[in-house]
Symmetry: C2
Subunit: 493 residues, 2 copies
């Protein structure tokens, strides 16, 4: 071995341990949302801070810089590993320790202030904290951006290589066709919703069946209840959560399928990449493409809902709709609403576009925090045609800004766009896929995703990951075509 | 502030973070036994190794030695903190990193080999691994002992300040009276055991009630099922596990009360000591004194079992015994058996004495691993009057030696002895305690323990902790007096 391959081996051994510690930190978060006794909160904050300090010290360890300078990549996998470690190291080193610590403290506090303000419907109580968070994140962005765009510097942490100028173009192309589709649908008669009793045990049993049907490996994961569903962990220990609502079983089923999409991505990554930088989903947008294609393009398809209809009747008896067609329409009901996370496929991206424009203006300095609520409410009325009735249905609904997650929202729509591209490519490769889906057989669909996307983990950059899987540059066209065809059929447009 | 109090403050800030990381490592163990999916095992090993390396690096951080050399204790609490940190630092620094790593690797492997050997009843498969473990631990003991006793050097890790010469004296005084009591009891007619159906839901519900009755704070803890019951964590997050057996509800109830004793000790420590060296139970022996007094002197008392009898009849209906007296006798049934963890109060310590003598001979070099099985079987026959029928009922029954835990076993009997002393002092302070116990009211009993022992955590050395609580030097007398009186009454001796 030469000195340079030694440097690579030493760096990877160090990184391996860092990745393992990252898994531990993530599982601490899982525990907090599922298992932790309420009274443990103050101690848990100390524990989180301790493991965060350990991880930060490793990320800024001067040996990492020396190894990176000397390491030579012997192959594409090594090159990708070095690219990930280099990017993370450079980002961390550009931000002064004082600012990083101040951000951690402030967002932790802001998160609690936001939760209370939302409960109290009290925007004024939150805005001073939000102003601090925006100020600090703008300061961080300035450290990171150099001569570049401030917003891009933050967005790059969630979607490496992606530029907001491209997002602006893509979102400009999405918006008119989404608005036209929404307008046409809302002029039509609405399909009937489900009726009936949906006991929790039945919902949890069926959500477990759905998880396994979509390929979630329960031997390397588990399902628990949590207030907000999430997926957590990588490699051999990827856990998901779900929730139930007595009147809305779709909430349970489709949030389960969504989290299973995230989890299957992590579980599907090549075992050789375990506890390396390639052993995690490559970006938020690509991650979301997996959760969305499982949940929407596959899970809400006419063929699959035909199978699910039978399962629900077997589990719950009379559910108030009496045909597969009516069930499919009920699953895909388009309805007015304030809340992004409850939005249907047609309107979801309009919620994201609103947030993208507002947060970009906050970061670039074109919008003051003091003017944010008015800007939100004006834009919501213009986009959705009805007024926000209370802050928890408007500016206070999402957790993201309180945590300083500026640049994150557009990855949701990017995920939807990527899911549209992947779905078109999958259908071209598997023209008779509906035969499988109508039997509740997802093996070929998820096998296609695993083979073409999931197993590669972080080997390629996010956009290149999609191109590798689909053979084409990503664009919003396939998503829009899919939405227009699907909802056109349901609503007779 | 002077430079010397700065050193103390810096050391304690560092230690605070180390303690928080220790809590995380402990919770990783809890997760492994309760929640972890089976397929995660290989990844979990990497995670354990990573956090163990972080903790080891902190324990051997040269700054700790420098801080210790400069720090000055301003009060008794600071002096105790420095004593704990100094002892841990000196121990760790005396063992070469190579040996520590070799021990970690070997015991991890030996544990797996032992589990398989026990399942296969194959002693020969285990002995070569055990020989390696003994060799390495003897090597470690030589590093630690200097001119002192090899066994004491290992035992000191579990019971600081305790010497095996004192144990030999104490155990020599215990043995004849225990043997005489056992012989007298086994000549008598055995009381009837329980009969009936004990469904799991009822057992878990009643075990929860018992935990709360004994003062376990569910707001800072939780109860889950595990193969082997244990208590885990300190401060605001102390979790216990239990198990159920359809034919033996006492297994569930008394292992719950036992773990509640451990957990209440941790929960009862002064909040000022949170995440400091004083914020944990001070030794294995003192810890066991709490689990034992909750389980035996209180939980198996005539007064308390009178209350429990009513609870069990309310929960399960007919349980096959029809009076409080008969129930108390069933709870305290003395019976022949091979397994230490299933032994009654009278015979338990005889199991420990056997192990103490054998492991001490292994560590001092007076007994070869090759001769251990014969030594065990001879001694068991001599002590218990019947022969070991298979290795899983003999030499392979306990996990401890595979994990290298030599010097640990005697802390179980030390805990029983300490519990006897504490119980005598408690009864002297609360002469009408039985009135409370017969109503299922443990508040004064556990309050006495909290006030006199638990809240002090690691403030005093283990033996001094007992002396502070009882006002007397610990001795085996109170335990023996208690056992002879209690079992004399039950068996009409």
């Amino acid at each position: 071995m030469t000195a340079n391959t030694d440097a690579y081996a030493e760096l990877m051994a160090f990184q391996h341990e860092t990745e393992a510690l990252g898994q531990i930190a993530g599982r601490l978060g899982w525990d907090q949302e599922t298992m932790m006794p309420a009274g443990a909160t103050p101690q848990r904050a100390e524990e989180h801070a301790a493991i965060a300090n350990v991880l930060h010290a490793r990320q800024t360890d001067p040996r990492v810089g020396e190894w990176l300078d000397r390491a030579v990549a012997a192959d594409a996998v090594a090159a990708a590993n070095l690219r990930h470690i280099r990017r993370s190291y450079d980002r961390t080193m550009k931000v002064p320790a004082r600012l990083a610590a101040e951000l951690a403290r402030t967002t932790s506090l802001a998160h609690r202030v936001w939760a209370q303000a939302r409960a109290d419907e009290d925007v004024a109580a939150f805005l001073p904290m939000l102003d601090k968070v925006v100020t600090l994140r703008r300061e961080e962005a300035a450290c990171l951006a150099g001569d570049g765009d401030l917003y891009d510097a933050l967005h790059d942490d969630y979607e490496p290589g992606n530029k907001s100028a491209d997002l602006v173009t893509m979102f400009a192309a999405l918006r008119p066709r989404l608005v036209a589709l929404r307008t046409a649908i809302l002029a039509r008669h609405q399909p009937a919703p489900l009726r009936g009793t949906f006991d929790e045990a039945g919902q949890l049993k069926l959500s477990r069946l759905l998880a396994q049907t979509f390929g979630y490996d329960m031997d390397k994961g588990r399902i628990d209840k949590a207030v907000h569903p999430f997926s957590s962990g990588s490699g051999l220990d990827v856990r998901i959560t779900t929730r139930t609502s007595p009147t809305d079983p779709f909430n349970c089923f489709y949030s389960t399928i969504h989290e299973v999409g995230h989890a299957c991505y992590e579980q599907g990554i090549d075992a050789d990449y375990l506890l390396t930088p390639l052993g995690n989903g490559v970006s938020m947008g690509v991650h979301e493409s997996q959760s969305r294609i499982y949940e929407n393009q596959l899970g809400r398809s006419r063929a699959f809902t035909g199978w699910l209809y039978g399962q629900m009747r077997d589990t719950f008896g009379d559910i108030g709709v009496t045909s597969e067609e009516a069930f499919h329409a009920a699953v895909n009901r388009v309805h007015n609403g304030y809340i992004r996370t409850e939005a249907d496929e047609v309107q979801y991206n309009l919620h994201v576009l609103l947030r993208f424009d507002l947060e970009r203006a906050l970061v670039t300095g074109d919008l003051a925090v003091a003017d944010l609520e008015a800007a939100w409410n004006d834009r919501f009325l213009a986009d959705f045609g009805f007024a926000v009735d209370k802050p928890s249905n408007g500016i206070l609904q999402d957790v993201h800004w309180s945590e300083g997650l500026f640049g994150y929202f557009p990855t949701y729509t990017l995920g939807n766009v990527y899911a549209g591209c992947l779905h078109a490519a999958m259908r071209a490769a598997l023209p008779d896929l509906d035969d499988d889906l109508s039997r509740g057989d997802l093996a070929r669909a998820t096998g296609w995703l695993r083979k073409n996307l999931q197993r590669h983990g972080g080997l390629r950059e996010p956009r290149a990951t999609i191109i590798h899987a689909t053979g084409a540059e990503p664009s919003e066209g396939p998503l829009l075509d899919y939405l227009e065809a699907k909802f056109g059929a349901i609503y007779g447009l």
